[in-house]
Homo-oligomer: 243 residues x 2
């Protein structure tokens, strides 16, 4: 395991729980390497010269550090980035192993429910990656670099951007003395709905109904908040366009 | 119960399950009135002259129809709208009883988890509404008309607008041949996070990290999609502003 951050930590746990052996942790930072290594009881190093050869190196480091570390690895290797192409690794035994989820070191995740995207131009390695992915995840999909980059964009739009909309709502609630937790059931229901139906079908609200009176009232409330007003108008237009 | 739509149907069920008695359903449409009335085994009418007096009339009709129907009701009455002020009802025994959720006739909801906002300038009626609300919901909050209107705006922003972002993601996935259901776990995780932490604390992604390379890549992918590109730029700026 190359890396000792959030993703590396969760991947190590999931792999060990599925019966795989991690033979070594490498991290630039001795502290990070030793912290993770102690948790799972394996050797560690922070010296690229002492990286041990194995069946597979999983490079779970920041996107910008992939190039620096991958050149020291001459055995089969994968990176775990959503946005970097396969071609940022050099050699013939290269691939991608990208779990689509945000990870936090201290919050346990059920890896089984996390989709894993695999890619390799080497058919033997691709097969190995699929078997490895299936052993830890219920949802394994082969995507090329262009698709993976688009999936990452779609994740940013539907998750990071939804979250800032939650923040907008929280700001409105705080300003008016409304408990923000009143919105939690509705927010959760909105996210859960798309399990059973498409976002297009589950769209509700004044824009969908063509309720111009309510839209006008909302724009009045946002009169002095140019930022939220502009986004309100754009997203309202997007909903209307999709009827 | 004045009205026989989604909200009226769910409210009737929740009230009956909590031991309250519905004595009559009124709806402009005989068909809607009789459909709901048969489900819960109570009389119905579509004639405003035969509306029976009771402890409380719950007006669960479209916002625009409240004024037309409320004038025929001379006993205590509440409307159930998020955006209409208390003052759209006439008389002294008037109030608001607003459950914050989207309802679908055929999907069962757990009313207990749905927040109910109550309002009345009549302290006796306010007390009655609180008792009624507490009997069907675990979360009852007294809000004035201005607060309720702002809560409705916050709900539109965090729910209806998140949903159109999900649709954007689905469009990107469809265009690239990526299964959209890959995003479900991440979307659900994003919505669930705000139970334990604030949206500000749980923000992740390239805008939060200041990862300009990834942002530039995403904008390149959206080069021919002016609509999504503009919204991407605005929401990225909103996240950055909030660091």
């Amino acid at each position: 395991m190359i890396g000792a951050g959030n993703l590396a930590t969760h991947l190590c746990r999931a792999l060990i729980n599925s019966g795989h052996e991690i033979i070594q942790i490498y991290s630039r930072s001795v502290k990070s390497a030793s912290t993770l290594a102690k948790k799972i009881n394996v050797p560690y190093t922070n010296d690229t010269k002492t990286i041990k050869s194995s069946d597979l190196a999983i490079i779970a480091v920041n996107d910008d550090s992939i190039k620096d570390i991958e050149k020291h690895i001459c055995f089969p290797k994968v990176h775990t980035s959503g946005t970097k192409p396969l071609s940022c690794l050099k050699g013939k035994n290269i691939g991608v192993f990208y779990p689509l989820q945000t990870f936090n070191k201290n919050i346990d995740v059920n890896f089984k429910s996390i989709p894993v995207c695999v890619e390799s131009s080497n058919s033997d390695l691709l097969q190995t990656l699929k078997i490895l992915a299936v052993s830890i995840s219920d949802k394994v999909v082969e995507l090329n670099s262009e698709q993976r980059k688009n999936l990452h964009l779609a994740a940013v739009i539907s998750c990071n951007f939804s979250n800032v909309l939650y923040r907008f709502s929280e700001e409105i609630c705080q300003k008016e003395g409304i408990p923000f937790d009143m919105l939690q059931p509705l927010i959760l229901e909105t996210a859960q709905k798309i399990k059973h139906t498409t976002p297009l079908q589950s769209q509700t609200g004044p824009a969908k109904r063509g309720d111009f009176e309510t839209i006008a009232k909302h724009l009045m409330l946002l009169e002095n908040d140019h930022e939220k007003k502009e986004i309100y108008q754009l997203l309202t237009a997007s909903i209307k366009k999709r009827q």
